[in-house]
């Protein structure tokens, strides 16, 4: 084996080791997250809400986002109560989105990627495949993500909330922002 061949061999081994190590590294939340939703009602009514405490983890090649639903806020406490009642948060306090990591594209350092994927969304105790779009930017080992999805709440056996004759549309838009780190 020539010197060049040895060098190439070592590089291949080290490269392979790096890939293996990278494959074993797991993603998890790093830093603050945002979690917003928008429901549209009749005659221009727009309800903007937000949650907190969004957490992402990775295990077995599945990246899972968990959003607590018990502290959702819409700016009006009575509306918050109605929302929690509609979501039955006592019985179903969390929504989760599980995605195979292999279905996601993570760009090279300082690069961005826009794409879409399908994950398994569990809401109100019902799990459905749900398409979402995402935008990711990598800085070192951090991935800055924004994900958006639109949910037909009736598909998750959630009754369309109505109050005093004002009902929201069954399609609700969700937007999240969070940072993942390859550990």
């Amino acid at each position: 084996m020539s010197l060049n061949s040895k060098t190439r061999f070592v590089a291949i081994v080290l490269g392979g080791l790096g890939i293996a190590l990278s494959a074993q590294a797991a993603l998890s939340s790093a830093g603050p997250s945002t979690f917003e939703f928008r429901a549209i009602g009749p005659a221009g009514l727009t309800i903007n809400g937000e949650g907190s405490g969004l957490v992402a983890t990775e295990a077995g090649g599945i990246v899972t986002l968990v959003a607590p639903l018990t502290e959702l806020k819409t700016g009006i406490s009575l509306r918050d109560d109605h929302l929690k009642k509609a979501l039955e948060v006592t019985a179903h306090p969390k929504a989760t989105l599980a995605v195979e990591r292999s279905k996601l594209t993570f760009p090279a350092d300082n690069k961005e990627f826009d794409g879409s994927a399908v994950g398994q969304l569990t809401l109100h105790g019902v799990t459905k495949p749900t398409k979402f779009t995402y935008k990711v930017k990598r800085t070192g080992s951090d991935y800055h993500l924004q994900a958006r999805l639109e949910i037909d709440i009736t598909q998750f056996n959630i009754e369309v909330p109505c109050y005093l004759g004002v009902c929201v549309d069954k399609n609700v838009k969700v937007k999240t922002g969070f940072k993942l780190r390859d550990n």
């Binding site: 005659a43 221009g44 109050y163 004002v166």
Partner: protein, 405 residues
Amino acid sequence: MKKERKSRGLSLVLPLAAFLFVLGFSQNAHAYAWMLQHGYTACSTCHADPSGGELLTPYGRVTSDLILRMHYGAPAKDDPPPSPGVFWGAWEPPEPLLVSGSYRNLYVIRPNQPGHEVAFVPVMQADLYGQLRLGKFRLGGSLGLSKVTAGSANARAAQVTAGQGNELNLIARNYYAGYEFSSEFLLRAGRLNLPFGVRIPEHTAWVREATRTDRESDQQHGLALAYVGEHMRAEFMGIGGNFQLGPDQFRERGYSAYVEGIANSHLAAGISSKVTFAEVDRLTYEANTLRQAHGLTLRAAPFDNLSLLAEVDALFRTNADAGYVGFAQVNYEAIQGLHVLVTGEILDQGLAQSALVTSTGYGEPNLGGWLSLDWFFFKQLEFRTDLITRTTDKFTLIGQLHFYL
């Protein structure tokens, strides 16, 4: 200082340029505008009128209780939700029926008007509103009482009874039959608020007076189609004239309309246009008068609890130079239910061709400023006071007690 007639081009361009500057500057706003701050980008969730004002829906009544008025003390966890009923929750009408009402009195202090330094008007407004919904059809209207001084321009145009002195008169500001094509489109025929500009409660603001689009008594009979969507709201009204006025030559005919784009929950901007013709102008008695107003509006909230409303309109009328009118109002909600408002306004109605020299407001700008305190101190109760100074009237202090059903 009087000036000779000159081109009005620059006078028009300057306020428009200032407005566009404000519009451009506000594009990065990040908070909610006044009621927009709660996601209410349009008006018809809370009001029967798709463009806002007067008759409340039950949802509107509850919303006003939750987010409009001042609350005292910490809410108890088991507090019942506010009642959507009228008379402070005493009566809940059946679902197809909306009932509401409004009462205002007025205190005025004008030290510069000898003999009229202090005035108290016990009933400035006393209206009842109602609407019945039968499937897609709506029937609605208002009925009220007015008592104004002889010669007053207020209330006369809405009178049902014919008294022209200071006696009590029956008035009807609005009444209509409507058909709801969908939750977005509503067609109404009747006596309606004119769709134009920012729908503010200050009916004496120059933007409302000079364009003749206030909700005090400037309503007209006609046919109006309203659209309210997530990103846009609009209303177009063909004006057939005010049939509570006569004879026919005093009736203004034409159109009035606005379109407002809603960029997001905290920024909306629109355009308004109104063109009317009357054989004889009911206020100036000028013959064959074509009046036009075309303008821009802005609603924005650059910070939490602080909103900005603005409007600028170009004014045109037969036998006069072009003019303009505008206002900008900053509304700061210091505590929920307590608003501090600062308003600036400008008016130049244009020099009439028969006039030789300019005067304030006619060829020369009339400037005004308002400092107001608006306190929604209890459920369906409001106290408001305004300190107004204008070039032509240096000091006016008014106070109003208002309750609405």
